[in-house]
Amino acid sequence: MSVLLFLVPIALLLGLIGLGAFLWTMKNGQYDDLDGAAHRILIDDEDES
């Protein structure tokens, strides 16, 4: 059963990474304008040249 000593923390760590990623995207304002994001995909990139 000593394998649990590795597997449980690894499982928790992976979960925590996912949780952290979600909290980061939220703090980063990625859910602030969902309507706008849906429309922005239709806008062409500006010509860089």
């Binding site: 649990l4 928790l12 979960g15 949780l19 909290l23 939220m26 429309h39 806008i43 062409d44």
Partner: protein, 770 residues
């Protein structure tokens, strides 16, 4: 804007073919790709107003200034791009972003603070109206609350998932196969995950429970908090005692489900409040005041008697006053229900809230905004609102029954086991399982899930809910009171017939397209061919004039360009004459038409057993005719706003639950007095603001559809409550008798939540009248 550059990036509302006159997007329907562009185009081609916003700019830490403004009329991707490009092209811009959800534009810039106004002006020039964002604090606090809930959900979800992983291990093995040490290890890992989660994610419930307990009441959050806290404490003690059952996973799952319900509820309320505050910020506009020969924008509520206000064609008149200069036609429809605009010239009186149509006016304010007709109606509305009984939501009523019952069961279980000689830990264990198993997961989800689904469905059909309990109040309605102009009718005249040739029609439409007068608009809308490009001058109060092929062509009233020998019969109001070199060539007649589906909607309502009434400020002949067409038997015509309000109160006193549907300013007090209220989106701002529900489009069917959806969703909520009660009837005796293990608790909890959610989704299946 070249069509070429943007043709690939077309918005969803634009399909192909011609370029939109405003943004250059390809379009199939007429000159514009969307209503936003049309509105923006007409605004940018009439009056350009300049507003000082720089006073509300914030200085940021890095020395840049930042400004956040609310923008009216963002409808598609092209709007976002246009605004962002226009702002980005200005000097000194460091950041620009349009938020379509909140309809906000934020930008920051380097350099003097006044630059902010020039940047704002560049957006105004595109035709989008800008407002200083109103009621910022309320917005921020509710979005902060939503964010906090979302974070709590994320944490609770993470914990519930991982705890379940461990719990499955615990449930599927026995102590003999697993060994004591492994089980204790699992218990302590569970505690490590669950305890911080309970402390973090449980706060919304704890806070609310604590605040009501302080006032000596209880609410749903009290049993929730008690269940979660007791489950955690008991599980820790079980882990210490090397016991078999811990309820950490139940505690986390309880929080997870309940937080979802709480979040959906907050979101539905936030959405409703957001649409209400958007309307309010439109209302809190500014007026152009002429002072020492200089124009200044002054907030409408700061207007004082004696000030001179300049109102451009197409603008709303901000205050009651006397015209000192200029001549125009004024649209009174929103105040009096009268379809045709009234001619206004020097010395004439105008009222706040009416629309100046054809020429610029200078108005001496006679009454400050507070004493205006508009404000009087607002005051009446407030009185009516106070009079309306406070509605208690179904969920709150359920909660007030639920809480004492659950606590009683918990206490009885503890007392029963203890008196029968069980150890106090065992007695407490069973009492806590009762609290957990009766957890209001299903109850907490029953209302919000249905509400979110219902409001999403309605929004798709252009119906906006402005208060959280609107649907519930609507579902109990047994009487509908309609206003006439603008509600049962479209509120603007349409071409009915007349005496004209194709050539004359083309000429007339080419002239009419240059005017905002409702009859001109009706004429140009009725004509579908190509227009002649002519330069037209508008003679306020009379009509339109132009030189075409050397002839003087005039279009307007009978008096101005109609035949002189025919006597005015009194019906001349709804017609237009066209004359060439003062020789009448054609005439057109108009009428305010019923909404196309008005008859079917009224019929469907009557078939559903709902009484229909017609209440109009218009003349009795007109009102009766409409009522007859729609087979509405109860009609009241020529009623003042006060009488409308009294009529509704009388209906309410007689025991009816009344829905008022209206669009005019004169309807606003009645809307406030009714049990539920709806208004079309063409209504005056203040009326939309009062109504619980605003619907878009030229059809009346949303009134019926919304009623059907409301009834259906309330039925679903009741079913959900019934399911939750049924589940409790089965689960509670088991818990009281001590047969419930953590596994059964978890299965029952998620099972009941799932059933409730699935039941709510049945809302989507039914089709409404269309």
């Amino acid at each position: 804007m070249e069509a070429e550059a943007v043709s690939n990036g077309r918005a969803d509302c634009c399909t192909a073919a011609i370029a939109c006159k405003h943004c250059g997007e390809p379009t199939t329907s007429g000159d514009f790709c969307c209503v936003g562009c049309e509105a923006a185009h007409s605004a940018s081609h009439s009056a350009t107003t300049f507003t000082a916003f720089s006073s509300i700019a914030h200085k940021q830490d890095n020395g840049d200034f930042r400004l956040e403004l609310s923008v009216e009329g963002i409808h598609c991707a092209a709007c976002i791009r246009l605004i962002e490009n226009a702002v980005a092209a200005q000097e000194g811009i460091t950041h620009v972003r349009v938020n379509m959800t909140t309809e906000r534009l934020s930008y920051s810039w380097q350099g003097p603070v006044e630059l902010g106004d020039i940047i704002a002006a560049s957006v105004v020039k595109l035709g989008y109206k800008l407002h200083a964002p109103g009621n910022d604090e309320a917005d921020n606090s509710s979005s902060a609350q939503e964010k906090a809930l979302l974070k709590a959900i994320a944490v609770a979800g993470f914990a519930a998932g991982n705890l379940m992983l461990i719990s499955v291990g615990l449930w599927t093995t026995t102590t003999e196969t697993m060994g004591m040490a492994t089980r204790d290890f699992f218990h302590w890992v569970s505690a490590l995950i669950a305890l911080p989660t309970v402390i973090y994610s449980g706060r919304p419930f704890f806070k609310s429970a604590l605040s009501v307990l302080k006032e000596g009441h209880t609410n749903m959050d009290v049993p929730i908090s008690l269940a979660v806290i007791l489950a955690s404490i008991m599980s820790v003690s079980e882990a210490l005692r090397h016991g078999e059952h811990v309820y950490f996973d139940s505690a986390a799952m309880l929080l997870f489900f309940l937080l979802i319900g709480r979040y959906l509820d907050a979101r539905a309320k936030g959405k409703a409040r957001e649409s209400a505050s958007k309307l309010l910020s439109k209302l809190a506009g500014t007026a152009a005041v002429l002072e020492d020969g200089q124009l200044q924008r002054v907030p409408i509520r700061e207007l004082k008697s004696g000030m001179t206000v300049v109102v451009a064609a197409g603008e709303t008149i901000p205050a009651d006053g006397k015209i000192t200069k200029g001549e125009s036609d004024v649209d009174l429809s929103l105040i009096s229900g009268e379809t045709l605009p009234e001619h206004a010239a020097k010395g004439g009186e105008v009222f706040a809230g009416t629309l100046n149509l054809t020429g610029p006016l200078e108005i001496a304010v006679t009454k400050a905004s507070e004493n205006s007709l508009l404000s009087e109606i607002v005051r009446m509305m407030e009185v009516a609102e106070q009079g309306a009984a406070k509605y208690v939501r179904l969920a709150d009523r359920a909660a007030s029954l639920y809480t004492p019952v659950v606590h009683l069961f918990g206490a009885l279980t503890f007392a029963g086991w203890w008196l029968l000689g069980a150890e106090w830990q065992v007695a407490l264990l069973h009492a806590v399982t009762v609290l957990i198993i009766t957890c209001p997961c299903a109850l907490g989800l029953a209302v919000p899930v249905v509400q979110v689904l219902a409001s999403g469905k309605l929004l798709k059909n252009g119906v906006l809910l402005k208060s959280g309990d609107a649907l519930e109040r609507l579902s109990g309605i047994d009487t509908v009171v309609f206003d006439k102009t603008g509600t049962l009718t479209i509120g603007r005249p349409a071409l009915l017939g007349g005496d004209y040739s194709e050539e004359m029609m083309r000429l007339a439409a080419s002239l009419a397209v240059h005017s905002r007068h409702p009859l001109s608009k009706a004429l140009s809308e009725a004509y579908e061919g190509t227009l002649i490009d002519i330069s037209v001058s508008e003679v306020p109060g009379k009509g339109l004039k132009c030189i075409h092929d050397g002839d003087t062509v005039k279009i307007g009233s009978r008096k101005w360009c109609g035949p002189r020998h025919i006597e005015d019969t009194g019906t001349s109001a709804l017609e237009l004459w066209l004359s060439v070199n003062d020789d009448p060539k054609a005439h057109f007649t108009f009428a305010d038409q019923l909404r196309a589906d008005a008859f079917h909607v009224v019929e469907a309502l009557q078939r559903a057993g709902i009484n229909t009434h017609l209440l109009s400020g218009d003349r009795a002949i007109v009102a009766n005719e409409v009522a007859k067409k729609l087979s509405i038997s109860t009609v009241q015509a020529e009623v003042t706003p006060t009488e409308k309000c009294e009529y509704l109160n009388a209906l309410k006193v007689s025991g009816s639950k009344v829905l008022m549907v209206g669009d005019g300013l004169n309807d606003a007090p009645a809307l406030a007095a009714a049990d539920a209220s709806m208004s079309p989106s063409s209504a005056i701002d203040i009326t939309q603001n009062t109504a619980d529900i605003v619907f878009q489009g030229d059809k009346l069917s949303p009134v019926y559809d919304t009623l059907v959806t409301a009834r259906r969703s309330t039925a679903l909520v009741r079913q959900n409550f019934a399911l939750a009660i049924l589940y409790n009837i089965i689960a509670v005796p088991l818990a009281v008798l001590g047969y419930v293990t953590p596994m059964i608790a978890a299965a029952a909890m998620s099972g009941s939540s799932l059933v409730v959610i699935l039941n709510a989704f049945r809302l989507r299946s039914k089709r409404a009248l269309s």
